[in-house]
């Protein structure tokens, strides 16, 4: 606990390019970018596979295999091969981390949409895409958001390892602290990342209230 107080009470940690606010911004920047890219890949693929049922086995198996990829190894390898300088290299492993939960949940949610509901929608004259976007996706929304939440929390938590190869973000406090035996920095960084991950989790719970239709919410509970 004393370590944490030392860290937070130190004014040097609160300003400039190496201060906490700047590190939080960096952290959120590449976490957010990775999540956005992952959603752009996983949402359409998950919806398409869930709605048509085609390629389901391949999608689920490769999503599961992607979970096995060690992020630290990928970060180190990508940066070693392509060089540091930009944040682009570190995005690849983070996107690989975020795609599986979003893809699998979107797929399961859309596939699990009640067949009777879909029949009713077709009976009302909806076209295929209309059934998908106005019936299946809203019904799948709680699961899709759960997948996004899992992905977001994992990305924020894992983005710390980017600091090992010299990138910014909150991982810097942890890695630098480990290397200089400055435990107040290490512990402070660890606590900040945990708080940030919890905040992201909370933001998604709030988003769920806004984005899930009241009818579906009553059903799912």
């Amino acid at each position: 606990m004393n370590f944490l107080l030392d860290f937070l009470a130190n004014p040097e940690n609160w300003s400039g390019p190496y201060g906490i606010p700047q590190r939080v911004l960096e952290h959120l920047e590449f976490s957010g970018l990775a999540l956005l890219l992952a959603a752009l890949i996983a949402l359409p693929v998950g919806m398409l596979v869930g709605y048509t049922g085609r390629g389901a086995v391949i999608a689920v198996v490769s999503a599961n295999a992607a979970r096995a990829l060690p992020t630290l190894g990928l970060v180190v390898l990508v940066v070693l091969l392509f060089g540091v300088g930009t944040t682009a290299p570190v995005l690849i492993p983070l996107v690989a981390l975020a795609v599986p939960p979003i893809l699998v949940n979107t797929y399961e949610g859309v596939r699990g949409a009640d067949a009777d509901l879909q029949d009713a929608a077709v009976g009302m004259g909806m076209t295929g895409p209309q059934v998908l976007f106005r019936v299946c996706v809203p019904v799948a929304m709680p699961l899709i958001l759960l997948g996004m939440r899992t992905a977001a929390v994992q990305v924020v938590a894992t983005a710390t390892v980017a600091a090992f190869v010299g990138l910014g973000g909150l991982g810097r406090f942890i890695i630098d602290g480990l290397q200089t035996r400055d435990f107040s920095s290490t512990v402070g960084g660890a606590v900040l990342v945990a708080v940030l991950a919890l905040a992201v989790q909370g933001a998604f719970v709030a988003a769920q209230r806004l984005l899930v239709s009241p009818g579906v919410r009553g059903q799912v509970g």
């Binding site: 060690p70 630290l72 894992t158 660890a190």
Partner: protein, 220 residues
């Protein structure tokens, strides 16, 4: 880097002993949390399925634990244990496994159709025997689905422990980075993915053996 080949095969041969040792470490530290997690998740999951009111708070606590970054928890435990030993990695990974396994046990028991439960009761099954002989076998597919996710992520997360000094194959990543030498990194990634895929395959096989009726239905 241009004259340097991506993989130097002779390095692998010369370091086979060390790689083997790290591989064993990785297996132990990756599987122990899942095994402990399953032993804990079964009673907790049963309790949550029996008393539904326990479930929401339990899931809440576990979700909070799940969102704690592994590196952060390793570091905090490093302060508690002082030395980098296996518990630093195994303890947090056990909690991550629990976060996946407890909901899996609860959902698995929830997947038992009510008529089946009633039929078992009508046939004279007492609650304990009904649980062991009817409900748990039916819950197997959902529980194993959870075990697969937990096992694969656990094996892969062990490597982050290398940053605090105990990380199985993850040490190869640190090695490769410090010497700017890609071979160990590639070897590490390939072995971790291979381990995870192997463990996943074993679990799929276990599911087939434990649920023979699923196959019978498919061929019928």
């Amino acid at each position: 880097m241009a004259e340097e080949p991506l993989i130097r095969w002779d390095w692998i041969g010369r370091n086979a002993d060390r790689i083997g040792g790290l591989l064993v470490d990785n297996v132990v530290m990756g599987l122990a949390p899942v095994a402990i997690g399953l032993v804990v998740a079964l009673p907790v999951g049963l309790a949550c399925a029996r008393w539904r009111r326990l479930y929401q708070p339990t899931v809440g606590i576990i979700n909070v634990i799940y969102s704690l970054p592994s590196l952060a928890v390793f570091v905090l435990l490093l302060n508690v244990f002082i030395l980098a030993t296996m518990p630093i990695v195994v303890v947090p990974l056990t909690f991550y496994a629990l976060a996946v396994l407890i909901p899996a046990v609860v959902d698995g028991l929830g997947s038992v159709p009510d008529p089946v439960r009633q039929a078992a009761t009508a046939m004279g099954f007492r609650p304990l025997r009904r649980l062991i002989q009817v409900e748990l076998p039916i819950a197997v597919p959902v529980v194993i689905a959870g075990l697969r996710v937990a096992t694969v992520s656990s094996i892969s997360l062990v490597s982050v422990g290398a940053l605090v000094g105990k990380g199985g194959l993850g040490h190869l990543f640190i090695d490769g980075w410090q010497r700017q030498f890609p071979t160990p990194i590639i070897v590490g990634i390939v072995l971790i993915v291979a381990l995870a895929v192997l463990a996943d395959g074993v679990l799929i096989l276990a599911q087939r053996l434990l649920t023979p009726w699923a196959r019978a239905r498919r061929t019928a």
